[in-house]
């Protein structure tokens, strides 16, 4: 093991910041993080072992307990479930004789659930040793099982299993235009960097990751900092369930992203950039690195880019399964080799970002748009969209519709138009912006997609009338409780309480006061949490409580003033078994029969 750790640390130049990369390699090698590895890494990097322990326990894809040699994570997003995930999971587990949440006795396989893997348009999906397989069916599962039982290394499995389709259904302004290599860089050079920044400002471009911060303002503030060592970071964490548009941009518009980052770097005078790629997109990792090589060879990255004297290079760093790492400051923590815990502001990461240096962090799509604006000018971009929301938005459409996939729309497009284009019928509602967004009913289908009205980072999940709103809300509520980083009290404890309270109502055990309690917990989490995760964790409940109060009321047993919070009779089971009793006194009713 010593030599393996030694090699690995060498591979990352004995830096601490790529700790996740190091641990990913260790996990891949040993199917867990051996305690001895923790000691060796701590010594080799001269960091407290507690930092490593904390990181291992924080990220979903690391484990101190040995996992199977084929480590399977089933995507458990609502869209996977709608596509029949549960039955397929049962099929897989039966075939492999390995229930969810366990490692098979022979150590060959382990199966677990994980949050959305970003294949919502071609689910249900799973990850095997980190690599995504979509479009699960019994036939495909049979092939997977066969390869596992034949002991074939994942690298030698039929490649068609791992195919991921772009699925671009309706391209628009950006997706329709092919950006020639280096064209944006040349245009920016010719126009001048300050002028290019002015142009991005004039375009009205706002961040595409969700919050909608004006991009040029961010870049200009960072450029104005006194500190001169600056960084550019691309947020490719795309963890919001139902979002997969960055996956497509990373796959097929790779140069556009790097070009946008390079222009940003030139404007800032930054020499180093990172793409923080979610662990679930491991399948894109080699490809991204290949494109970087290509660009280095073409003089589009390196010490003297296109002979303009710009010096900039990009490194791809992988995450390891954590939704909160999409939050900008948590992402930076993760990039520094730590747990993804959102930082306190001030200072903002524009001033103290990566390694406490000024940093611009933008979404993948934002960099693509910036590159295109640098090339084609602000007017081209601002020609569509609305007054306050310029340009287009790329949507990831999934759920109940005939044509899920990628759609690009000018801002201001109505919900109705979108639903028509993707062939959605019998619509119950749409989750715009994913679980942290809003559940919109069809009564609101005149609503327009803009930052002010219906804002989305890209997620657009459609539900028809065969779906149960409570199942949806439950999936989202559990998701947040699972993904809470645990830093602050209301989100750490509150999301678990909210989950219990919601499940109580959902399972038919809600009584008179339970809806008020649900609302109270929800509001508390929203009002007092530290970061955006906690602040939106209760949205699925709050927005449906507001829109469908009757649905909740109907779920409540009004005749009872109280229903216990735990299963009374179930709680006697152990004593019943041990005493061998089953008489009338050995049971309890959950609520009294009056």
């Amino acid at each position: 093991m010593e030599s393996f750790i030694d090699e690995t640390l060498k591979k990352y130049q004995h830096q601490t910041t790529p700790l996740l990369m190091v641990l990913r390699d260790v996990q891949a090698q040993y199917f867990h993080i051996p305690k001895q590895a923790v000691e060796l890494i701590a010594k080799g990097l001269d960091i407290p072992r507690t930092q490593i322990v904390a990181v291992v326990e924080f990220y979903h894809f690391f484990s101190f307990e040995p996992r199977g040699r084929y480590d399977i994570f089933l995507s458990d997003s609502i869209t996977d479930q709608m596509l029949g995930k549960k039955a397929l999971a049962d099929y897989l587990c039966t075939k492999l004789q390995s229930p969810i949440g366990t490692v098979r006795a022979d150590g060959v396989v382990s199966i677990d659930n994980t949050a959305c893997t970003g294949l919502c348009d071609q689910g249900p999906a799973l990850l095997v040793n980190g690599y995504a397989i979509g479009q699960l069916s019994e036939q495909r599962i049979d092939r997977i099982v066969a390869m596992i039982e034949q002991n074939r290394p994942v690298t030698e499995w039929d490649s068609d299993l791992f195919e991921v389709y772009d699925n671009i259904q309706q391209p628009g302004l950006l997706l329709n235009t092919k950006l020639p290599r280096g064209a944006a860089l040349t245009a920016a050079w010719q126009r001048g960097l300050t002028e290019t920044l002015d142009d991005i400002k004039a375009s009205g471009l706002r961040g595409r990751g969700g919050a909608g911060f004006t991009t040029a303002m961010k870049w200009a503030s960072c450029r104005a900092t006194e500190e001169t060592e600056r960084y550019v970071v691309c947020n490719a964490d795309e963890g919001e369930p139902g979002t997969f548009k960055d996956r497509v941009l990373l796959n097929s518009y790779t140069h556009d992203i790097f070009e946008g980052m390079t222009i940003c770097a030139a404007i800032l005078g930054a020499h180093k950039g990172f793409v923080y790629l979610r662990g679930e997109y491991l399948h894109l990792f080699n490809k991204l690195n290949a494109v970087l090589e290509e660009r280095r060879a073409a003089g589009l990255l390196g010490d003297n880019i296109l002979g303009y004297g710009w010096k900039f290079d990009i490194e791809i760093r992988l995450g390891a399964g954590s939704y909160v790492c999409g939050e900008s400051s948590a992402l930076l923590e993760s990039l520094e080799g730590k747990m993804g815990i959102p930082r306190n502001r001030p200072p903002s990461s524009i001033i103290k970002g990566y390694l406490a240096k000024p940093t611009v962090l933008n979404n993948v799509e934002t960099f693509v748009a910036a590159a295109h604006i640098a090339w084609q000018g602000s007017e081209w971009f601002a020609s569509c969209g609305t007054e306050k929301s310029k340009g287009t938005k790329i949507l990831s459409i999934c759920g109940d519709c005939e044509r899920p996939g990628i759609y690009e729309y000018p801002f201001g497009t109505t919900l109705k138009e979108v639903l028509k284009d993707c062939g959605a019928s019998d619509v119950l509602g749409v989750q715009v912006g994913g679980p942290s967004g809003t559940f919109v009913s069809t009564r609101e289908s005149d609503g327009r997609l803009t930052f002010e009205e219906l804002s989305t980072g890209g997620a657009f999940i459609i539900f028809n009338h065969s779906r149960n709103i409570f199942d949806i809300v439950q999936n989202f509520t559990h998701f947040f409780a699972e993904e809470s980083c645990g830093f602050c009290t209301p989100c750490r404890v509150g999301t678990s309480l909210l989950k219990k309270q919601f499940d109580k109502i959902h399972s038919g055990h809600g009584s008179a006061g339970d809806i008020k309690e649900l609302r109270d917990i929800a509001k508390l989490i929203k009002d007092t949490s530290h970061c955006g995760l906690g602040q939106s964790a209760a949205e699925p409940i709050l927005t449906t409580l507001e829109r469908y109060p009757n649905l909740y009321e109907r779920q409540i047993k009004q005749q009872y003033s109280f229903d216990p919070v735990f299963d009374l009779d179930g709680s006697l089971a152990v004593a019943r078994k041990m005493s061998g009793r089953d008489d009338g006194h050995a049971h309890l009713t959950q609520v009294e029969n009056k």
Binding site: E39, N344, F487, C488, T489, R492, K500, D527, V565
Partner: protein, 235 residues
């Protein structure tokens, strides 16, 4: 001098001061658990949540005071929020005060008393948490840890980094920097600041418990606001 107002009272501040610092200097108590004047603010317990005039909540321990800010602090609404947050801490861990060495001198109790907390309100988690009694001079009972991070910060400042909070979500737990994970194999000593700073009974220096008789303990007759403003906090 620049000033803010807290519940209508004028509170002067110096540039760079947090709302908490300005408030404390002016004798205004804002409930807190993870804040300690000697360490960088953490912002995790959310106890110090206060409301700006525009309705936004901020945490007083992390937010800088800004000229003209009008802040609500000691309101019924905010104190209810704080009580609920405190109750969350009580149900999350296992706080059996009658059996706790810190009882009477515990800041978590102190805050709860201040907020007139009569019950735990929420269902108990009864989480399984480890106790570490390996160290001859120090006890770590994770049942009582509220993740305030003070021991972590103190030990880091001492250059020992004995503690870290690991895990995510509701499964967070305090870990110890030693190969065995036990306190006895760590560098912690009883005179470390880190061993003495815990606001609750999670980290205790042995042999010091139950010294003050009931009635003379820190919070027996004095509200935590008085104790805090008088600079008499334990730790």
């Amino acid at each position: 001098m620049a000033h803010i107002t807290i519940d209508g009272q004028i509170v002067p501040f110096e540039a760079g001061q947090t709302v908490m610092e300005a408030a404390m200097a002016a004798g205004v108590y804002i409930p807190h658990l993870c804040h300690h004047p000697d360490f960088t603010p953490h912002g995790s317990c959310r106890q110090c949540t206060v409301t700006l005039k525009n309705g936004w909540n901020i945490t007083a321990c992390t937010a800088r005071a800004a000229e003209g800010q009008e802040i609500s602090n000691n309101t019924e609404e905010l104190n209810l929020v704080r009580k609920r947050l405190t109750q969350m801490l009580f149900v999350e861990g296992n706080h059996f005060c009658p059996a706790c060495e810190k009882t009477g001198n515990c800041q978590l109790q102190g805050v709860a008393y201040h907020l007139n907390m009569m019950s735990n309100h929420y269902p108990q988690f009864y989480a399984l948490r480890d106790l570490d009694a390996t160290h001859p001079d120090i006890l770590l009972d994770r049942n009582r840890c509220i993740f305030c991070n003070l021991c972590v910060r103190a030990s880091h400042a001492e250059g020992k980094d004995v503690f870290a909070i690991a895990g995510r979500g509701i499964n967070k737990h305090l870990v110890v920097n030693s190969e065995s994970g036990k306190l006895i194999d760590s560098e912690l000593t009883a005179d470390d600041r880190a061993a003495n700073i815990c606001p609750t009974g999670a980290l205790l220096v042995k042999g010091k418990a139950f010294q003050a008789p009931i009635g003379q303990r820190l919070y027996d007759h004095h509200d935590i606001d008085e104790i805090t403003l008088g600079g008499r906090h334990g730790g």
